[in-house]
Symmetry: C2
Subunit: 123 residues, 2 copies
Amino acid sequence: MRIGELAELTGTSTRSLRYYEEQGLLSARRDAKGYREYDEADLRAVREIRSLLAIGFGLEDTRPFVACLRAGGASGDSCPDSVAVYRRKLAEIDDCIDRLQAVRTQLARSIDRCSGERRCCPR
Amino acid sequence: MRIGELAELTGTSTRSLRYYEEQGLLSARRDAKGYREYDEADLRAVREIRSLLAIGFGLEDTRPFVACLRAGGASGDSCPDSVAVYRRKLAEIDDCIDRLQAVRTQLARSIDRCSGERRCCPR
DNA sequence: CCTGGCCTTGACGTCGGTGTGAAGGTCTAG
DNA sequence: CTAGACCTTCACACCGACGTCAAGGCCAGG
């Protein structure tokens, strides 16, 4: 299939697909006219990339998943490198949640304090 | 005081202070040499800005807090507009935490599944 | 022949909060 | 006189994942 079709099938844009290729995540064959030609493996790769991006992964993080698929993995996360990224991301997310929780607590306290005190909104 | 001193007192850079001014958060008087001249009120304002930025607020979000201080508020959050931002931010943070929790759960499941199955890392 | 729909490459714009550097003015100490 | 420590404005660089436009090739249908 060509780039427009792949974009539509994966709910993305041709710009993004070219960008993924530029970043070395995709490698398309070319037909006689110089058009990019994709197959089912590429379709799976792009779907993998999109689902990872959707949950907050960076493009770099998707690399091992795509490599895993290309190496014949049943799914993108069927390889140790992918699982390593999972673990790293999990740790990052935990950190992020912790920080947000701390801020949340502080914020909630500030709001409570403000609505509890008359002095909070002078004039 | 001048910009270098204010920057040092607030743990920021002269560049940032000029940027805050450019964004209309600060307004400095000028001395005969054209140098910016700051007072205690400015110091408080910058401290307010920095502490809000530090917990993930955008510069725009700090605007009501600075205005509140300038209007004579005991603290930057002593005004209804500031509290409104608090509430909005709290909601945003809650959304963010929820999304992260969902991703975290999904991720943890993926890791469990992968380490549980032998088939997970073929070859 | 012309229109329109697909494709190509190349390159600039976006967002926010800075870092960094150029090119210059002003003052002080040695 | 000079070095250096302040200050000024202007303006480009950064990050990431694209959007968007320009300028052009290729092909089918009317």
